[in-house]
Symmetry: C2
Subunit: 333 residues, 2 copies
Amino acid sequence: MPELRKDPIVDRWVIISEERANRPGDYPSPTQKQQISFCPFCPGNENKTPEGILALPHNIGRDAPGWTLRVVSNKFPALEIECDVNRIGEGMFDKMGGFGAHEVIIEHPDHQLSLEEASAGAISECLWAFQQRILDLKKDSRFRYILIFKNHGEAAGATLEHSHSQLIGLPIIPEMVMEELQAAKRHWDYKERCIFCDLIAQERGNGSRVVVENQNFIAICPYAPRFPFETWILPKYHLARYEKDSQIDYAQAAAILKDVLLRIREALNIPPYNLVFHTSPVSGDYDNIYHWHIEVMPKLTKMAGFEQGTGFYINPTPPETAAEILRSVKINP
Amino acid sequence: MPELRKDPIVDRWVIISEERANRPGDYPSPTQKQQISFCPFCPGNENKTPEGILALPHNIGRDAPGWTLRVVSNKFPALEIECDVNRIGEGMFDKMGGFGAHEVIIEHPDHQLSLEEASAGAISECLWAFQQRILDLKKDSRFRYILIFKNHGEAAGATLEHSHSQLIGLPIIPEMVMEELQAAKRHWDYKERCIFCDLIAQERGNGSRVVVENQNFIAICPYAPRFPFETWILPKYHLARYEKDSQIDYAQAAAILKDVLLRIREALNIPPYNLVFHTSPVSGDYDNIYHWHIEVMPKLTKMAGFEQGTGFYINPTPPETAAEILRSVKINP
C-alpha cells in the first residue's frame, strides 16, 4: 500500500508508492560511457579552460602540467563575478544583477575514471579543495550562499564526461536551503536541539534506513526521499558549516563518500547521479541550528508534470528498501 | 549579462542566463513518434483499462465503443481510494495513509493525434471532463487538492503514447500550490487585490511577455520562469476555482490552449512538455485571493544537481525572447 511521508527537515510531503516500481531492475537506461573526442579537462589542454584558480599539488603552477586536481572558472558561467548585485523593482517584480561565481573542480587527471573509482586520496583532495574555495569566496561579502554540487552522467545534466564538480556562489540563499534552515530553526526554538542531530540519533536507533557508517560519518536513506535511492551523508558530530570543519577527518569523509557512490554504482548499474553539499549560508548565525551534509540523488526516474507542478514527488522505492539493497552490496573500496 | 529574477507569486528566485543557450536550435532531441505496439487506450481495447468513470458522448456506456473521450482509473495508481488518511507519528516523522485518486483522461480515440492536433471541439470536451471529475471527487471531504496535469512525450514522463491527461486527488495541498496561495494571500492582505489580476494588467500594459490573447484568456511567458518557454494561460476575468467556472467559454479556452501548444510545437520542433492546472484547494476560502490558470512547461533542459539541490532554477531563455519567438510563429489552428 502506498504511503505519504513528510520529513520535518524539508517540510515536504512525499508519496511512497511501491506499486509502480521499486527494484533496481525496474529502472531504465544506465549511463553509458560516451565516445571520447576532445576534452578540455584532460592534461595538456590547460589552455583550453579559463585560467586556473587552484591546483594540486601545492608546489606547481595553476595551469602547469602534472596536476592532480584543478579548479577553473566555468567557461559558460550561469552567474558572473563582474555583475553588480543591484536590486531593482520592475513594476510588481524584483530583479537583481547576475552577480556570482561559477567554478569547475576537475577532480583528477584521468578522463576514464569517475569520482567513485578514484582513490580515497584523490577524493580527499576534492573535499579539501571545496573548503578552500568556499573560504576564499566568503571574503566577498556580496555572496549569500556557496553551493557545491556534481552532475554525473548526461541524464543528470553533465555536459562533459571528464569527472568534475561545480561551485556556484550566489547573492541569495536558495529556496530549498532556506526551507531547511527555517525548519531547523523551528526545531531549535522549540527544543534547543539540532534537528539533524536528533535525526541521526533516531536513525541509528532504528537502523532500517542506515546504509553505512564509520567513526565520524553516517549515510542514511532519508525518511521521505524525493528520489529513489536518495542517500544523505552526515557528520555524526554537530557542525553547521562545511568550510569551518577544520577538524574534518578527510580520510573518513572520503572513505564514506566513495563507499556510498560505489554501492549506488553497483546496485543500480552505473546510474547517472547528482550530489549536492548542504551547508550554512555565508553569513548569519546558524551554528546551533544547522548541520552540514551531502545529498546524493541517483537519476532513475524522469521528473514529470506532477512533480514540476506541485513540488510534490512520487517515489516508487521506500527508503528502507533502498537502504537494505545498498547495505547488502559487496564492494571492494 | 545574466540576471536574477523573482516572481512574487511563486516567491522564488531564478537566474536568467542567456550565455548558456537560448534559441530553440540550442536544445537537443525533440520527441520522436514511437513504434506503435499494443495500446490500451485505443478503441476496441476498453477492457484492457480499469472500468470507465466517464465517457463522451453522454448517451453511450462508459466502456462502450464509439466514445470520443474516456476517463478511467489509472491502472498503476500513485494513490488509492481504498486507503485511510490516518495521520501517524513515527518518532520525529509524520506519516499518512496513501489515500487519493489517480485517473486518466483519454483525450480522444485517435492514437496518432496529440492534444494540440485534435480539434478545438475535442479539447473543449477535455476541459469539460476535467471540471466534471473535480466536481465529483470534491464530494469526498478527505480530498484537499485535485491536480490535473499532462505529460507529453517520454522525456516529460509519459509512459504511453496515446494522448492523455491525468488527475490526482490528494489528501494534502502540494507545497508549490501552498506557496502560491501564501504569496497570493500576502498580496491580498496588503492590497485587497488579486495578485494574478495585477499581473495580467501589468503584462498587458507591457506587452513584451504576452504570447497571445483572445476575448477571455491571455497567454504569457512569466517574468521569472523556471523553464525555457514556460507559458501560462490565465482567464482575464477573476476566478479562483476552475471547477466553479460555470461561465467558462469552452470554445475560447480550448482555442487558446490549442494555439499555445501549436506555437510551442512549431517553434521548438515538437518538444516533450508538461501541462499543469493550478486551481484552489478543495476547501477553504480562496475566492478573492487566487486565480486559476494553466502552466505549460516544454521539456528542453535536463534538471541538474543544482536545480534539485536548491529549488533554484537556471533558465537560459529570457521570457521576453521566448514570447517574441512564440508570437512570431505562424500557425493554422
